[in-house]
């Protein structure tokens, strides 16, 4: 490989990394909201699948990417509502409900897809890359960072917005209190349950968006289990990022890089590693990071615990 080729390879890699990180950024930032409020939603995978399917089905019917994205968010939030009802109102175990939603999401989307869409075999129109004038013509950098679609660009906006909401609004302040010392928030006059509901809805809405990106901004098809574990990886991203949105953005990029590397190495005929091993790369990295980044960290202290008002 000469230098030019290497640079091209790196530019393509960086661009792909950001694209592949996009669903992780949405889902993990959403999960940060949820967990900061003390609710551990391991049902991300199922929620993302629902988002991916709703986005696909809506775009299929309307030919509109925008409506698809909205439907993805809405689908995620419907799942969030189910989750919140069981875990916050009924106070069922969050892990159990989350696991159930993962199974439900997988089964439900597979069933609906097979029933209504699989025979059509048609794809949908997806979000097109937008070349940012002048910047996209920069050598290498242009290719990597300025020829993406709007959904990918929006991850920056979402990250900044999430950080602002979490650290600069009364809502975010209360969320952080609710996950750490719900009674103090209660005594201060905030409705703990309402905040946990909102946090779960923000979280699942973003997870739905992350899922919808897979069908509307990446592949143009829905496939059963299209998320292939991204929901779980997003959970790991949250831990690695220490519950910080900006951290989640960069950690997601890192994981995106593993995905991209895996894909591009597979395409390189000269490399003779079994492709299954390459495919496993992001998951192996997840396990390694979770082992390395252990220890007491910034986890909200009431994570996973229901709150009993006196």
């Amino acid at each position: 490989m000469d230098d030019m080729m290497l640079l091209t390879f790196l530019a393509t890699l960086a661009g792909a990394a950001w694209r592949l990180a996009t669903p992780l950024i949405f889902a993990s930032i959403g999960e940060i909201f949820s967990e900061r409020a003390g609710v551990l939603n391991i049902g991300l995978e199922g929620t993302m699948l629902v988002g991916a399917f709703c986005g696909f089905a809506t775009a299929f019917a309307t030919d509109s990417v925008l409506l698809g994205l909205i439907a993805g968010i809405a689908g995620g939030m419907v799942f969030g509502l189910i989750f919140a009802f069981f875990t916050i109102t009924i106070k069922a175990d969050q892990i159990v409900v989350g696991a159930a939603l993962n199974l439900l999401g997988l089964g439900l989307t597979a069933f609906l897809f097979r029933t209504y869409y699989v025979s059509t075999g048609k794809g949908i129109e997806i979000a097109q890359p937008i070349n940012i004038p002048w910047l996209s013509d920069l050598p290498f950098i242009g290719e990597a960072f300025f020829r993406q679609n709007l959904i990918v660009y929006s991850t920056i906006l979402v990250t900044i917005l999430a950080a602002l909401v979490l650290y600069r609004t009364s809502f975010g302040l209360t969320l952080r209190a609710v996950g750490e010392h719900p009674r103090a928030a209660d005594v201060a006059g905030r409705n703990v349950a309402a905040y946990r509901y909102s946090a779960v809805l923000v979280g699942t809405g973003l997870a739905g968006l992350g899922g919808a990106f897979l069908t509307l901004g990446h592949s143009n098809q829905f496939v059963e289990g299209i998320t292939s574990g991204r929901g779980f990886i997003a959970l790991a991203v949250v831990v690695f990022a220490r519950w910080s949105p900006i951290g989640a953005f960069f950690v997601s990029l890192l994981f995106g890089l593993f995905y991209a590397l895996q894909l591009m190495l597979q395409a390189q005929a000269s490399i003779v590693v079994p492709y299954q091993l390459l495919q496993a790369l992001p998951y192996i990295m997840t396990i390694i990071t979770l082992v390395v980044v252990r220890g007491k960290g910034a986890a909200p202290s009431k994570l996973g615990q229901p709150y009993d008002m006196r």
Binding site: R168, T169, S170, F171, L173, T174, R176, A177, E180, H181, R183, A184, A185, V187, A188, G189, R190, A298, P300, S301, R310
Partner: protein, 513 residues
């Protein structure tokens, strides 16, 4: 004509299941007074005050505040009426800053927080005015208990109050901090505020309050003017009998060395050096006290001894065996009992029952378990026995320990630890939150343990506690043992100097032989 009372409580009743916490209490608080509330553990002091500040709703009765009948559904409503309370267990969110804690719950949920500078300035101003030394940008989790309490008081002032209720504010404070707090109460009253405070310490109650009310079994026994009473009289009103202020005790008969600490050094949880080469021995049959202003390594010493904090260097030898660096379960298993400083963090598990809490370390031992299965009956019997012996006010062995009053939780911890027949007993704040009647009892129990040949290390910021039962007192300063004194009240000055880190006077033999 007497002025209308500032706050009048009329025949208030409150039950929790079968427990009557308030049994028709009537009480009057005057404007601008410091009113102390005394009573045994579980007498219903905290519950009564929680009803005034909107935390708990009364079943019956009336609260008349500034001439109007009020009924608060939440603490927020009480704060709006300028009533603030600092609870026995603080209401501060540890991962937020002081200022963030103060504005929590203020304004609309969707508000953008853009006035932080103003909030900080207000906090600084209030902090200066009352000499509270609170930094608005400090994170709660980095603050000591004493600091956290000042943060809580300032929080009430920040929200604007006319009535401040303090629930056992001095229980966790050092004597110096206590002096400071008592002075602060005086300042608040000068500013036209009214203070009600709960305490188990008669001397401070006598020092600052104008009037004192005593509660027993959910009823108000009496309200008296300070001038018309003394500590002995108050004690009798509280407990219903005379309380010995001085415990009779024989001389110690120290035997072999049970615990030996050699040059122990470790760092605090925040990574700063906390112990700088501590060496001491504790023999069987003696109680060794460690005095010191809190924050001088006492917490770390007790955590390190029970395996909750890694040791950097030095050794801990128990019964001739090196136990340095063993995990807490192994140390526990070697007959070490631990009465921790923070019962909620290291002593009990709040959502578990009394029975479950009494076998926390022994859940796997006979007769409480056979081949991995818990035996309910012996657990219950054992717990009932402790409850009876230590007069722990509770409803049932299966009730959650979080429902007990603070002092009764502490009594359960003490009872549990002593029941294990340990060789070595590590105590950090023995009587925290315990009423004077129970204090006498608990101290007597400790002396009995001593006379039975146990080795006891008592870390305490309460000098009275140390004088009452210790056989010798070591003083800790900046992570070192600065000196040793006999438990002689006449040498209080020397002790005070040592606690302030001044060794000069003590290195030479003391003045009076």
């Amino acid at each position: 004509m007497s002025p209308k009372p500032f706050l009048r409580i009329e025949n208030i009743r409150k039950r929790f299941g079968s427990v009557v916490a308030s049994d028709g209490v009537s009480l009057e608080i005057d404007e601008g007074e410091i009113h102390a509330l005394l009573g045994e553990n579980g007498a219903g002091k905290s519950v009564l005050m929680s009803m005034i500040c909107g935390m708990v709703r009364p079943d019956e009765g009336e609260i008349v505040y500034k001439g109007q009948s009020v009924r608060f559904n939440s603490p927020r409503e009480a704060i709006r009426q300028r009533i603030g309370m600092v609870h026995q267990h603080f209401m501060l969110v540890p991962n937020l800053t002081v200022a963030e804690n103060y504005i929590l719950g203020q304004g609309s949920a969707l508000r953008v927080i853009n006035d932080m500078d103003k909030v900080h300035a207000r906090i600084r101003e209030l902090s200066e005015r009352y000499a509270l030394d609170v930094r608005p940008e400090a994170r709660i989790e980095d603050l000591s208990v004493g600091e956290q309490q000042r943060v809580e008081i300032l929080k009430a002032l920040f929200h604007g109050i006319d009535l401040l209720i303090l629930d056992e504010p001095t229980a966790v404070l050092t004597p110096q901090e206590t002096d400071r707090l008592l002075a602060l109460m005086g300042d608040l009253v000068k500013d036209g505020k009214t203070v009600v405070f709960i305490s188990h310490k008669l001397d401070e109650v006598m020092r600052v309050s104008n009037r004192i009310s005593v509660m027993r079994d959910g009823r108000l026994v009496k309200t008296v003017n300070v001038a018309d009473t003394d500590a002995r009289g108050l004690a009798r009103m509280m407990v219903g009998r005379d309380v010995r202020m001085e415990l009779p005790r024989g001389p110690a008969a120290p035997g072999r060395i049970v615990l030996s600490i050699e040059n122990l050094a470790c760092r605090s949880e925040t990574g700063l050096p906390a112990l700088r080469g501590v060496s001491l021995d504790v023999r069987s049959g003696e109680i060794v006290g460690i005095a010191g202003v809190s924050g001088n390594g006492q917490t770390e010493l007790s955590l390190a001894l029970c395996g909750l904090l890694p040791v950097d260097s030095g050794r801990v030898v128990l019964n001739g065996q090196d136990i340095t660096g063993l995990d807490p379960a192994r140390i526990n298993a070697r007959s070490v009992a631990h009465i921790p400083e923070d019962r909620h963090k290291h002593g009990i598990v709040l959502p578990l029952s009394l029975g479950e809490n009494t076998i926390l370390q022994r859940y796997n031992e006979s007769p409480f378990a056979t081949s991995g299965m818990l035996n309910r009956r012996p657990i219950r019997e054992h717990t009932r026995d402790l409850i009876r012996r230590f007069r722990i006010k509770s409803r049932d062995v299966d009730q959650k320990i979080s429902e007990l009053s603070g002092g009764n939780q502490q009594k359960l911890v003490v009872a549990r630890e002593l029941a294990r027949n340990p060789d070595f007993i590590l105590v950090n704040q023995l009587t925290r939150g315990i009423d004077i009647g129970a204090m006498e009892f608990v101290m007597e129990e400790m002396l009995k343990q001593r006379d039975n040949g146990r080795a006891i290390l008592l870390i305490s910021t309460e000098l009275e506690e140390l004088f009452a039962i210790c056989d010798r007192i070591l003083v800790m300063f900046h992570g070192e043992i600065l000196g040793e004194l006999p438990p002689d009240r006449n040498r209080l000055d020397e002790l005070g100097l040592l606690m302030a880190g001044q060794t000069a006077n003590v290195v030479q033999p003391p003045l009076a032989g």
